[in-house]
């Protein structure tokens, strides 16, 4: 009855891709052009907030273990906090660029959650590999939102920030329920899918 975990990963991958492309476009045209229409400034923070909200049903329905529940719950909170702070900055209710640090915090919370709730090694199966890859991508990628709080206009920082979302979406789209990774699949993982 419930959709498989891989379907949920693909839906979130679509969300990450949307956010990534919006941030990439913002990096290309610059903040001044991007904010000329108010609705545009709200787009990616709204998607981030919405993804945080949608993480709650994931927490409720995909409670494989306590650690899964804690991981999904902490993601939901971190994404909602980061989305809300970015919405506040876009609306002008928040002024300090240091509010962007909440996004760096969300990256680190997400990284910790995804790395800690994956109990298997890198080459156990594709899903395990992707959990490790996404976790470390977010650990390294947290440098971009961190730098964004201090150098919000820097093109390199904005582009890097956008590309982290695009790369994460590629990783999430690559997920399969039980599939090999670089030819490896642990016999303990179960029967291989397509």
């Amino acid at each position: 009855m419930l959709p498989k975990a891989e379907f949920v990963h693909w839906w979130f991958a679509t969300g990450f891709l949307i956010i990534g492309l919006l941030l990439l476009a913002e990096a290309l045209v610059g903040g001044e052009v991007w904010r000329r229409r108010a609705w545009r400034a709200y787009l990616w923070p709204s998607f981030l907030f919405l993804m945080g909200v949608l993480m709650w049903p994931v927490m409720v329905f995909y409670t494989n273990s306590t650690i899964h529940m804690l991981a999904h719950g902490s993601w939901a909170q971190a994404m909602m906090l980061a989305g809300a702070a970015e919405l506040g900055l876009a609306r002008g209710k928040l002024h300090s660029p240091y509010w962007s640090l909440t996004t760096a915090g969300a990256f680190l919370v997400s990284a910790a959650a995804i790395l800690l709730h994956e109990q298997n090694g890198w080459l156990y199966a594709r899903a395990a590999f992707l959990h490790h890859a996404i976790g470390w991508t977010f650990v390294i990628g947290a440098a971009f939102p961190l730098a964004r709080a201090f150098r919000p206009g820097a093109a390199v920082v904005r582009t890097g920030f956008a590309l982290i979302f695009v790369v994460t979406s590629v990783f999430l789209f690559s997920d399969r329920d039980t599939a090999p990774i670089f030819g490896h699949l642990s016999p303990l993982a179960g029967a291989q899918h397509r």
Partner: protein, 94 residues
């Protein structure tokens, strides 16, 4: 003096053209990535072989999602963004 202004104008136009071209390309390139993925892994599109597939399998078509994201970007975001980009860059400085 005149040639200096002309050189600056050409350089500005080139910069703008590059930025505009990049914004214009985001949507089509994303769609192209989705189509290429569909050709490389056609089994990920269950609509091509729907017999015996359940609801969730038929709803989940990742390459189509990528194409739709690119299409949405090209149709709903890029036109207004390019319009604003031109307006800002055409506005007299100061």
């Amino acid at each position: 003096m005149e040639s200096h202004f002309a050189t600056e104008a050409v350089a500005q136009l080139r910069r703008r053209s590059l930025r505009a071209a990049a914004v214009n390309l985001i949507g089509p390139l994303t769609m192209l990535a989705g189509v290429a993925w569909a050709f490389l892994q056609p089994y990920r599109l269950t609509v091509l072989h729907p017999h015996g597939q359940g609801f969730w399998w038929l709803l989940s078509e990742p390459p189509l999602y990528v194409v739709l994201v690119g299409l949405g970007f090209a149709l709903f975001l890029a036109p207004s963004l390019l319009e604003d980009l031109e307006e800002v860059e055409d506005a007299p400085e100061g």
